[in-house]
């Protein structure tokens, strides 16, 4: 069997990808360029902090749903600290207190429940995804506590503005990278597909599932996805701090 990635929806995906690319060229990339030029660096930092801060309530729900108790505690602490001392998330004080930003989403939660990624899927506007993560986005669009709070307060436009700002911030931070990829890729669609898929596998479970499946399908002894990275961050400090205690 071919260990190359299955993309049964490829014709449709390529069409949506082309439309997204067109929108990116005429709307999102220019908006990101203007955003980068007009906004002073501290303001951009603040915007980014607020975006990340507002993602924390839904992150907390996902931490709990994944059974990540320690992480859910960190997320809650981070949210409280930055709300109270960080001017509702504008300043990231929690990072200096050993609580760096971590993100997760409902796609990862589904993965932790054993749901496979399914076929690759390019979503209109949202871009590269797969069936599982696409479903995760649908759940998020109705279950995000911050958006629900906005709507309850009759601030119906806020979820849309939040999504727009999130997109422009993301696009701004990836201006050089995506320009490089687009200029250098021989097949930009295929390149973004493998990038998304590998990166996502790494985020969701460190690439464990992809590695095992690659090994299984690999009848020809081809080099499949590399083995998951051992966790050095946990092993090392404990060895070094032990004698000091």
């Amino acid at each position: 069997m071919d260990i190359s990635y299955s993309d049964p929806l490829e014709p449709l995906n390529r069409l949506v990808f082309a439309v997204n690319e067109m929108l990116d060229t005429i709307v999102f990339r220019p908006a990101a360029v203007v955003y980068g030029k007009v906004m002073p660096a501290p303001a951009k930092r603040g915007v980014r902090n607020v975006i990340r801060h507002l993602s924390l309530p839904f992150t907390f729900i996902n931490d709990v749903a994944q059974g990540e108790w320690e992480r859910s505690g960190d997320t809650a602490q981070r949210f409280i600290l930055n709300t109270m001392i960080g001017f509702v998330g504008l300043v990231d004080v929690a990072e200096d207190h050993g609580l760096p930003h971590r993100s997760t989403d409902f796609g990862s939660t589904l993965a932790s429940w054993g749901v496979g990624e399914g076929p690759y899927l390019v979503l209109p506007l949202a871009g590269p995804s797969n069936i599982r993560d696409g479903a995760g986005l649908v759940v998020q669009s109705v279950a995000d506590p911050v958006d629900i709070a906005f709507r309850r307060a009759d601030l119906d436009l806020m979820p849309l503005i939040r999504a727009g700002v999130t997109t422009v911030d993301f696009r701004y931070r990836n201006l050089d990278t995506l320009d490089d990829f687009k200029a250098n890729a021989l097949d930009y669609y295929a390149f973004i597909r493998t990038l998304y898929r590998q990166r996502r596998a790494f985020e969701v479970d460190g690439g464990q599932e992809m590695y095992l499946r690659g090994k299984q399908d690999n009848e020809d002894g081809e080099y499949a996805y590399p083995p998951p990275r051992p966790d050095f961050s946990r092993a090392k400090p404990s060895a070094e701090t032990r004698p000091a205690k």
């Binding site: 071919d2 260990i3 190359s4 990635y5 050089d176 490089d180 250098n184 890729a185 021989l186 097949d187 669609y189 295929a190 390149f191 597909r193 493998t194 990038l195 590998q198 990166r199 596998a201 790494f202 985020e203 460190g206 690439g207 020809d220 081809e222 080099y223 996805y225 590399p226 083995p227 990275r229 051992p230 050095f232 092993a235 090392k236 404990s238 060895a239 032990r242 004698p243």
Partner: protein, 195 residues
């Protein structure tokens, strides 16, 4: 704490550092050496681009195993390829990669690489490193290291979980499919290199 009490911890210390898996520390030293002495030569913005390109070509043929990378990147298409196509691909790949990565090295000036650990697999090792720049968060860089004529040679670079070999294979494979064969890919590579 009394000094004699510390002695109790010494055996545990060794356990912690030995780790469960065997590891070829030579591969780790190879990457350390590369990061300390070779990488700065490629990233120095003061060096003219032509000279950096020439240096990278040298590194590519010495510290990377391009024959192996070519095989890994073409996957099943490699086995079906005729000897002439293989030779052609090998030459084009070298030109393509040196053009692709030379420009990217500019952004890597001041990169510091710390080896986190080494693990051995069937015939090759993975050297796990963390790279830090003057600004921005640290980046996880993992190097697949094989042996080439008795020396160490890089055969893949995994950046934050993204394998460059697999990314390249997926992209090349898409082009082979679209253009109906390996010759289509060779044509595209040749056109790209010509500019």
């Amino acid at each position: 704490m009394r000094p004699w009490f510390l002695a109790l911890f010494v055996p545990f210390l060794f356990l912690a550092f030995a780790g469960p898996a065997t590891a070829d520390e030579g591969a780790g030293d190879f990457i350390r050496e590369l990061a300390a002495n070779v990488l700065p030569q490629l990233t120095d913005p003061a060096t003219p681009i032509d000279e950096r390109r020439a240096r990278f070509r040298e590194v590519l043929s010495r510290d990377f195993d391009l024959d192996k990378i070519g095989k890994l990147v073409l996957g099943r298409h490699w086995r079906r390829a005729k000897p002439a196509q293989r030779a052609d691909f090998r030459m084009l790949l070298e030109n393509y990669l040196s053009g692709l990565y030379t420009n990217r090295f500019e952004d890597l000036a001041g990169l510091r690489i710390k080896v986190d650990g080494v693990r051995d697999f069937e015939g090759w090792s993975m050297v796990y490193t963390t790279a830090t720049r003057t600004k921005g968060p640290p980046v996880l860089l993992d190097w697949r290291v094989d042996r080439k004529d008795g020396a160490y040679a890089i055969t893949d670079l995994v950046i934050e979980g993204v394998s460059m070999v697999i990314a390249q294979r997926e992209e090349f494979s898409a082009i082979v499919l679209q253009s109906g064969g390996l010759d289509g890919l060779l044509l595209r590579l040749r056109a790209r290199i010509a500019g």
